[in-house]
């Protein structure tokens, strides 16, 4: 959000934009010096990239998802946002894959000068943030800038970012935001929220502002007042989406479930399938782990500190002089899942999963977080049944 503490803009700002209005929105944001990032079709995927104009949006494209499966496909209705999560997430822009944190020089007598990276990131506008991904951004906010130590790189990028949420009307086969209570309707935290409606009355977007800056931008666009038909269709489409989730989580306290699974048999089962490749962690919009790299130039007197994404599936992740703490694949998958659904609560007072389904789609062997959670739940029920019957 442009100003995280600004109260929601006063009054009903709801209005309707048509496709030209969408074009004007991107132009207006660019005129205000914003770098607009949004979905576009590239290399047979809907990726997030810098947009020069709204015409680059994936009008007429959708996606098909399944575990380990992703295909773009044509849509006859011309919709721009009728697709769920792609391979990347907004963390690529807020918490970039590789950043320089500082550079240091050493003088002839061993004296050291350290220069913090002066990161002057673009002023971002994110167009097409799904409600689950808005929650993912809010979760990374807690991790990166919500604790006692503020991460400067993330803070500088996040601070000025303008967020345009587009509600979900076309969930994918691997989506479960309803289970995680993150969508498909927009939750607070956006500057603008849009709902795309395509029907006999035309292709249009119901828009409303969540901040003063959002209201100001809407006011600068060609628009018309929100009519009842558009409001009703928008609401119905989002409600219908909630009933079309491809996946669900077990309806239990997941944090408590996971806390009780440390000795579960199921970890052996999943470990036999998991390649510990770390794709799930790279694709996940909340996974934040990094490692550091120290490099020097040929003289050895100029050094740089870089930070890059790392995965808890890497064997070296828990390296200690005596060997890695989590040597087995079992312990590494267990770490990932218990962290996502369980201990994230202890550490950051929220779930680490928003139900976007990316980890399911981008797993080369199709391991499904919801299926694993159901299996762990079943195992815990079986265990309880055992004790109640007096069986071991």
């Amino acid at each position: 959000m442009a100003s995280a503490t600004a109260p929601p803009a006063a009054g009903d700002t709801a209005c309707v934009l048509d496709r030209d209005g969408m074009g004007a929105l991107v132009r207006e944001l660019r005129a205000r010096g914003r770098t607009v990032i949004g979905p576009t079709v590239r290399d047979d995927a809907i990726v997030l990239a810098k947009l020069e104009s709204a015409e680059e949006l994936p009008y007429g494209w959708g996606v098909e998802h399944e575990a380990g499966y992703y295909r773009v496909r044509r849509r006859p209705d011309g919709a721009a946002f009728a697709h769920s999560a792609g391979p990347q997430s907004w963390k690529s822009f807020l918490h970039p894959e590789r950043v320089r944190q500082w550079a240091a020089d050493r003088g002839p007598d061993g004296e050291m000068t350290v220069r913090p990276e002066r990161d002057e990131p673009p002023s971002f506008a994110f167009l097409g943030v799904r409600p689950c991904d808005l929650r993912a951004i809010q979760i990374q906010d807690r991790v990166m800038i919500g604790g006692p130590h503020r991460d400067a790189t993330y803070g500088a990028r996040r601070g000025g970012a303008f967020l345009i949420v587009v509600e979900c009307t076309e969930p994918g086969a691997t989506c479960f935001c309803v289970s995680m209570d993150t969508g498909p309707a927009a939750r607070p935290g956006y500057d603008l929220a849009l709902t795309e409606v395509v029907d006999e009355a035309g292709h249009r977007f119901l828009a409303r502002a969540g901040t003063d800056e959002g209201a100001e931008i809407l006011a600068a666009l060609p628009r018309r007042p929100a009519d009842d038909l558009t409001r009703t269709r928008a609401r119905e489409d989002v409600e219908a989406a909630a009933g079309r989730m491809g996946r669900t989580m077990p309806e239990v306290d997941l944090r408590a479930l996971l806390a009780g699974t440390l000795d579960a048999e199921r970890w052996n089962d999943v470990a036999a399938r998991c390649l510990t490749c770390g794709n799930c962690t790279m694709a996940c919009p909340t996974c934040f782990c990094t490692t550091t790299e120290d490099v020097t130039d040929l003289t050895g007197d100029h050094a740089e500190r870089w930070r890059r994404w790392e995965s808890c599936y890497d064997l070296d992740f828990t390296h200690l002089p005596g060997g890695s703490v989590r040597g087995s694949g079992r312990s590494r998958y267990r770490q990932w899942l218990t962290h996502k659904l369980g201990t994230w609560w202890d550490q950051f007072d929220s779930s680490g999963c928003v139900g976007c389904g990316r980890c399911i789609v981008w797993c080369p062997v199709g391991i499904d977080i919801t299926e694993e959670a159901h299996a762990l739940h079943q195992e815990s029920l079986d265990g309880q049944a055992g004790t109640e019957d007096g069986r071991p």
Partner: protein, 267 residues
Amino acid sequence: MTAVPLPYRVTANRPESADTRTIELQPVAEALPVFAPGQFAMVYAFGVGDIPVSVAGIDGSALTHTIRGVGATSRALCAVRAGTQVGVRGPFGTGWDLPSAAGRDLIIVAGGIGLAPLRPLVREALSAPGTYGRLNVLVGARTPADLLYRSELDGWGHPYCGVTVDRAGPEWTGNVGVVTALLDQAAFDPHDTTAFACGPEVMIRAAARELLHRGVPAQHIRISLERNMHCATGHCGHCQLGPLLLCRDGPVVAYDRAKPLLTVREL
């Protein structure tokens, strides 16, 4: 500063044993906030990397670190020459919080390099006579040659400072065996004791088991744990131990919290 190191000048570098050295650091210009015993710094060897190192001595803004060379960065830090500079970030993590044990008997159990973070704790207790009950210091090392701070140890225990080694030649007349065996000679009232332990994880677990067995409650046993750490600011994810981020919720953790986590393999 928490992400960017400040330059500190190396004012001394002396050997403790074959693989361990103690370095003294002074801020070149700006100083970090004052460290508390039990907290740690990220110490940067130019161009090589930075690693978590506990404070082994605190004198205003001057820092003492005792470092065992086990890999690239720790060896580079053992090799720093007086007059050159290193980078320091911190202070990080929870401290021993000795003041909360006022009036109680103290037991300090150290194994190997684990004595380094306990040294400022011992000094803090010694500098406040009458504030605490009896001070027992139990030190274990692999061999007599691996003992740290040998010239200081004598003055450390009131009433008891015991030293033991895993193995020794005939010239060694002291104790041989595990550090927990020294508890028999310590003087303490288990119901009114706070214990502090640092060393290899097996030693910490053994010490905690013995202390529990003698009646010291788990919440009065404080241990310092080691995990891989890169940022020390809670952002890199490496130091997780179940629900804990050890750079933030540790390294000093009460044993009632740590025990269920330390018994799970590969957590």
